[in-house]
Each structure stands twice: as C-alpha cells, then as structure tokens.
Symmetry: C2
Subunit: 332 residues, 2 copies
C-alpha cells in the first residue's frame, strides 16, 4: 500500500516554439522544470528521444519514497480520446501523431494528452482558483482565445473530443474577419492579444485628431502590452481599447453563462496582465447581458496559477485525472 | 424481484393554461391521458387535490402486475434540486411552491420535478430521436425558445440548476428588444413563434410595394402558422421570413456546437411545423458558421415525439431518471 499522495507527475507542455517540462507533486509544487526548443526535432520520434534525454536525469533525482505516476501532455490539437496530436497548424510534424504511444514506450510510464486549454482548466481545478469547483469555464486570452469547460466536475469533450472552442463563437455577426479561420466576428477576433492590437490600430486610424501615447509606436509594434502600459499612464484611447474589448468579452461570457450556469469564469493568459482595465468592463457587460436569475452570482476571476508555471501544472494535473475519467491513457 | 420494465410512470405537464397528465410505460406508450385547467385552482394545495381526484381512477385501472413507480412533473421554473416551482411568471401561484412535497404526500409516491424544456430533452433521450445519444441539445421553438442540454448522458443543470437558457443568449447585439426581458437581440426575439410574427410584420412594413398573401391578415392575426401557410403557397416574402429566422437560428446553433460539440441538435415545438422552410436555412447557416472540424457531422433533426404527447412523455421520463441521477426526489 503506497501513499499515492506522495506520488509525482511529469507535466509536458508542447508549444509551437518551446516545450516546457517539469516534475510536479500533488500540491502543485514544481520540483524541477526546464524547457527546450520544439522546432529542433524533425520527427515526433526524435522529439520523444529528446524529452527522454532531459527528463531521465530529473526522474533519477526524485526523493526516496516517491513514484512518478505518469506523464501528462498539453498540446495544441491534443486529442485525449486517441492519445494523439492531430493536424496542429503550429507544429512542424504534420498529420496525426500517436504521441502517447511513443511517450509510453520510451518512458515505460502511462501517458495522457489533452488540448492545452483543457489542460489549463484541469490545472486550475487541481491546483488553482477552481479548486473545489464542479462547474466553471476557463477562458485563455493569449495570442488566441482558448477555453476549457468543466461541468459537474468533468471537462466537456463533446461527442468527438472537440467541445470548447469558445474563441471561435460569433459575437459580432458580420464583424471583423478572422486572420486564420476567415470567419467574421468571432470572440478571438476581438479579445485575443492579436485582436486587441487590431482594435488599437483601428481606433488610432479612426480618431486621427485624438492624441495618444500609442502613437509613439508603429502599427506593427503595437501589442496588448503597449496598450496596457499606455492605459495605465492615463491614455484615454488606450483605455477605450480595453472598454471595447471588455464589452465584447462580457457579452460573450453572458452567453456562456446562460449555457452552463457555471459557479465561476476564470480568465487566464497574457491579456489578463491588463488587470482591472479588462476586468471591470468585462464584468459590467457580462452582468448587463444576463437574465436576472444569473446576475451578481457568477464569480469572474483571474487564474491563480503563475503564467510561467501554468502550462506544466495543467499538463501534470492530467495524470491525477487518469483515475477520475475514462479518457484513454496509453500504457495504463 | 419484480420486473421493473413493466412499471409505469405518471407524467404531469403544468402549463399556464392547461395541465396535462397521463400514465406511461417504459416504451413511451401513454396508456391513459387527459388534461385539466391549471387556472381553476387558487392554491397549489387545491391543484394537487384536483390532480389526485383525476389520477386516482386512472391509477386504479393499471394492468395487474404493473406498479406506478413515481410521478414526474414538468413545469415552468421547475427546480429539480429543490422539488419546487419558483416564481413562475405564467402561473397564478406566486413565490416558491414546494410542489413535490405536496404531490408525494397526497399520492404517497416519489415525485420529481424539472423545468419543462429539460423534461422535453429527457423525454427525447428516453423515447425519441435522442435514444442512445449522450451529447445533444434540444431547442424548443414555441411561443418562447427553451433548451435542454445533455452532456455525457446527463442534463446540464449548472451550479444552481439554471443552466440552459439558450433562448436568452444574445445573437444580434443591440438588436430587437425582447418584449419580456427587455434585453436586445436574444435568440427568442427572432426564432420563437412570437419573433417570427414580429419579423413578418416588419418585412411587410419595410416592403410596402411587395405583394404578399400575408397582407390578407391584420398585424395581430399574423402568426407563425399563417407565415408557414403563405410560404407553402409560394409567397416570396413569407419565405423570406423563414430564411431570416433560419439564418439567426443557424448562427446561434453554430455557437452552441462550438461550446459542447453535440452529436445532434433536436428542434421541437410549434415552429417546426414549418418543416423544410425552417430546417434548410438553419442547417445552411449553422454549417457556414462552424469551424471545419465540426462541419457536416452534427445532426440537425426534428423531434420524433408527437407534440401533443411530448409534454407528458418528458415528464414521465423524469421518473426513470430518478435512479440514474442524483437529483433530489421527494419521498424517495
């Protein structure tokens, strides 16, 4: 009878540029972590070899009496039902990659994969702001907008594993065209870091006579970080950018609430560094667009996980989910 | 050891005007049914007495060897967690009504209540088009627009029992004002029977020179039935009403798909009598607004339950759900 609460999990977060990995305990403490370039590996097989070479030394130094229970992987287009990455546009490996099989074979450990936003939601439920919550929605506001939906304590996958693409829901029919999907007026068009930069440039163009600190920067330089800095210095137009972004986000969140009536919506990702600039208008517009039965009771909060750690934590938390869910696990 | 597949359930559907009730077997056959005026009872106690007086003779005639297992109730604002009807705007009994307690005490049988749209979804899953499905969304297009969402085989209630108000999600920000909620551009504003009549009148007003069969009727007379009849006779403007309605509905359904990725969306209610007039533009616009990963795989279908029977069937199906869910049941 070993005490499983002392067991450890490996978390691996695969991004287009970097892969982060670490060893995590049940309390969400990262014992060791590092990262490597994803792009250097021309095939998934070489990538898994590379991972083994850096993780084996870490695994050899875990404290006595602890056991590495399994490997959790967060990846773009990670399919938890099949243990695969499928047609990920930002990775150099094309088609369907049976990553869990490769990882389990190389490490001789159970492995489990999930889409990165869903892994983030599981991480938040395991170690972060959603501890103890059974119904919440995690919205990741980064370069794109992702989401992980938890209902009744379980991540929502839908009939095919593809549920939770809230960034692509239409919130302004006929609105701004998405640079990738070609669809008009999706949430991601406006509330991603990319969308915020577009809004800033549009507002600068449409208000040529309004002074703004943002005019110190070229169109290409302007990003959500610069908009935030300018707004924090009192720049009116930069503040308007967030009022508009929060309006769109708040309206979308109200729709999501009327779908699943979550206890909380948790915002995560680079955009939340804007703090109250984005929180206040989002909350105001969410409340304004809710039926009275939902008003003033849905918590709208920021993630409690450090952004630098969240990816590894989310991936590692998948390992603890193995027993809880019926998700297919390679090697179990 | 009795054979529970021979057991029967009572289904009661409480509407603002009429209450329908019947005795149903496991195959979804209504053995007996009738209805009475809801409004004649000044208190919930008198209503339950009235129900007992009409149902007792029915119960006395059930076939030998069968047992009435319990009573399922579908009602506006029915709260399954508390066994109550809460602040239903269309009923004359105000406030919070502990209906399940009253029913169970009077009938000496377990009782369970649910919101009418959720009961319809459970009925569809038990006896209708959603048999065997674990992930689907039921949209009821009647005077209003209701919904019942099923994920992983369970109705979605959210943290407070209020999930699934998809009729009130905003699909046209700043659009048509809702007659009841005062909110702008909700799905119900456009795709309910009420909304369709408004659209028809708007189109007649905006196109004064366009001939239309609908002009034979006064503003007040025009309803979705008349619009359907005119469109079926080849009336171009009436057809336009459905093209517009289907566009809005299709866009909304696409958003719902990207939330929960259901196997099917099932349409139900008076509006579906329009058949292909509403189905075709809805399907086209849903597909057009979906990410490629969802395209051409979500079934969009009409309910398989007869509208006249569906309310009783849905309510009765709640009884079979008692064992399956942890919903609070009075008297169990």
């Amino acid at each position: 009878m070993n005490d499983t609460s002392k067991n450890l999990a490996i978390g691996i977060d695969i991004g287009g540029t970097n892969t982060k990995y670490g060893i995590v305990n049940h309390r969400g403490e990262i014992l060791q972590q590092s990262e490597m370039k994803t792009e250097q590996f021309s095939t998934p097989e070489l990538f898994v070899d590379g991972l083994y070479n850096v993780l084996k030394p870490m695994m050899d130094t875990v404290p006595a009496g602890t056991l590495v229970e399994g490997i959790g992987i967060g990846a773009p287009n990670g399919n938890p039902f099949r243990g695969t990455i499928e047609y990920a546009p930002n990775l150099r490996w094309k088609g369907v990659i049976r990553l869990c099989d490769l990882v389990t074979k190389r490490f001789n450990l159970p492995s489990i994969i999930n889409n990165d936003a869903k892994a983030a939601a599981i991480g938040e439920m395991t170690y972060g702001a959603a501890r103890g919550m059974k119904d919440f929605i995690m919205i990741t506001l980064g370069t794109g907008v992702g989401s992980g939906i938890v209902i009744n304590g379980h991540v929502v996958y839908g009939h095919d594993g593809f549920a939770g693409e809230l960034g692509h829901t239409t919130i302004r029919p006929g609105g701004r065209k998405h640079w990738g999907t070609g669809m008009h007026g999706s949430l991601e068009c406006y509330t991603s870091a990319t969308g915020i930069a577009i809004t800033a440039n549009e507002m600068l163009d449409e208000n040529p006579k309004v002074e703004s600190l943002m005019r110190q920067y070229s169109r290409e330089e302007i990003n959500s970080k610069i908009v935030t800095e300018c707004a924090q210095k009192g720049d009116k137009l930069a503040n308007e950018v967030y009022l508009f972004t929060g309006q769109i986000l708040g309206e979308a969140l109200a729709n999501f609430v009327m779908f699943s009536s979550p206890e909380a919506i948790i915002l995560f990702g680079g955009v939340i560094k804007a703090g109250n600039l984005i929180m206040q208008p989002t909350k105001e517009n969410m409340e304004k667009n809710l039926l009275p039965i939902y008003q003033n009771k849905i918590k709208l909060i920021f993630s409690e996980l450090k952004e630098a750690d969240a990816a590894i934590l989310g991936a590692s938390a998948l390992v603890w989910e193995i027993a809880k869910n019926k998700t297919i696990v390679s090697g179990s």
